[in-house]
């Protein structure tokens, strides 16, 4: 938990500073229309994401977002469990408002996500403050979520999970060419925190393996801290380096490091390229193969709790429309295409798709890896 003292100090300091002169700004009015597609590891997920943001008067801005994931899945988890490929649709709606008073922005946000076996609702509040001649932006945020989990193969199953997020963010102008962003977040979760369709495996009496149910802890607390530095290069380009550290009570520790280069060309075009590296160790209660059915109280084989590394390459291009020839109320318009290639190597999770029980000595199957292609195509308009 974030100490109550820190919370009180943050609230008091922000209130005091609300008296300083000059105003910050509300986010710009905009509309974005995106088509997104993820394809990898036997899964295809695609759909639209639409966002509209509009100022209502001088001090208030409202945002609405509509997002859909249309899923077709024959993932390794589906195949190994013997299930057949399934299709599913997840619909998500988000609403938020920003209220600007002096140099402080107050924001409230609500997200509702629905699919036939998972329903999630999240409420968030945050306060953002500009200070030191607008060189520093400090923000604090709180989110609370409630998830309801079902099992499409078992009508008797129903459970819930509660989530709380605490966020602290600082953006600092370091020089006329350099920006620093620091973010800290604590997430606490309670309830059913596993995937009802996943399973563990254990050595059975016949010397091969059998599948069994996973048992996860019903609490999880994770802490993440990240730093990003963005630098303006003299030939008009930008380079950004970032790093994030994550650690939680399940024993998972992760490092994320990334670099992104943005280069405008020929007046209307912007190209960007990025590389991201992610690595994590496995949860304390993860094993690809348990020695027995009830080896310990918590047992997981979920591949997302396995030690893994993810190398990601990204490339994007953006074109700016000559909007002053279109309509006077349109300030700016862009067309964007972004491609991301992910290479995930699981260090402790084995690929059993070609190795049903009895075909290989359990624990000698090859380690699993997947490559994924992610495409984003979107139009953005500012008005």
């Amino acid at each position: 938990m974030i100490s109550p003292t820190l919370r009180r100090i943050a609230a008091a300091a922000l209130l005091l500073c609300a008296f300083a002169a000059q105003a910050a700004v509300l986010p710009e009015d905009r509309a974005d229309f995106m088509y997104h597609r993820y394809q990898g590891g036997g899964i295809t997920v695609q759909g639209p994401s639409i966002l509209v943001r509009k100022k209502l008067g001088e001090s208030v801005s409202a945002t609405a977002n509509y997002y859909v994931d249309a899923i077709t899945s024959a993932s390794i988890d589906v195949v190994v469990s013997g299930a057949s490929q399934y299709t599913e649709k997840r619909t998500q709606i988000g609403l938020s408002t920003d209220y600007l008073h002096g140099k402080t922005t107050y924001s409230a946000n609500f997200v509702d996500s629905k699919e036939n076996d998972y329903k999630a609702r999240t409420w968030s509040l945050s306060i953002s403050q500009d200070m030191f001649g607008d060189l520093t932006t400090l923000s604090i945020g709180y989110s609370q979520g409630k998830d309801r989990i079902f099992d499409s193969t078992d009508p008797t199953f129903a459970d819930t999970a509660d989530r709380r997020n605490y966020r602290l963010g600082l953006t600092q102008v370091l020089t006329r060419d350099m920006l620093l962003s620091l973010n800290f977040e604590t997430i606490t979760e309670e309830g059913y925190l596993q995937n009802p369709y996943r399973f563990m495996r254990y050595v059975n009496t016949a010397g091969s393996y059998s599948l069994g149910p996973e048992v996860f802890p019903r609490t999880r607390t994770g802490n993440a801290g990240s730093a990003r530095v963005k630098y303006y290069l003299p030939w008009r380009a930008a380079i950004e380096g970032s790093y994030r550290f994550y650690a939680d009570t399940w024993g998972i520790q992760a490092h994320t490091a990334g670099i992104e280069y943005t280069h405008p060309l020929w007046g209307r075009w912007v190209f960007d390229g990025s590389y991201r590296f992610y690595t994590q160790n496995s949860a304390d209660f993860f094993m690809d193969l348990f020695p027995s059915a009830n080896f310990q109280n918590f047992m997981a084989r979920d591949k997302e709790t396995s030690a893994l590394s993810n190398h990601t390459l990204g490339a994007g291009v953006s074109y700016e429309f000559p909007v002053n020839k279109w309509a006077s109320w349109l300030k700016r318009g862009t067309a964007n295409l972004h491609y991301t290639y992910m290479m995930i190597d699981y260090k402790e999770f084995r690929d059993l798709r070609d190795y049903p029980p009895g075909t290989a000595t359990p624990g000698t199957e090859p380690l699993y890896s997947l490559n994924a292609n992610v495409i984003q195509a979107f139009f953005s308009f500012w008005f």
Binding site: V25, M34, M131, F132, V173, R228, Y232, D248, Q280
Partner: protein
């Protein structure tokens, strides 16, 4: 982790109202105001990629960011 948060957090908040002269003047922010220097230029794209990584990986959080820019009113 929380105790580490407390020290810079409190120090910064306590100094928040102190009259420090900005070392980058408002008329020197032309590079920071450039759209390519924006902290989060495409929120629809960044929230989507955050979601993709969160599904495929065990870590989550601390991905946010706002501020910088032209500092205009």
């Amino acid at each position: 982790m929380r105790k580490l948060l407390l020290i810079p957090g409190v120090a910064l908040l306590a100094a928040a109202c102190a009259p420090i002269e900005p070392w980058v003047k408002p008329y020197e922010r032309e590079h920071l105001a450039d759209p390519i220097m924006s902290v989060d230029p495409d929120p629809v794209s960044s929230s989507y990629m955050d979601h993709v990584f969160e599904v495929r990986e065990g870590a989550k959080g601390a991905t946010g960011g706002s501020g910088g820019g032209c500092g205009c009113s």
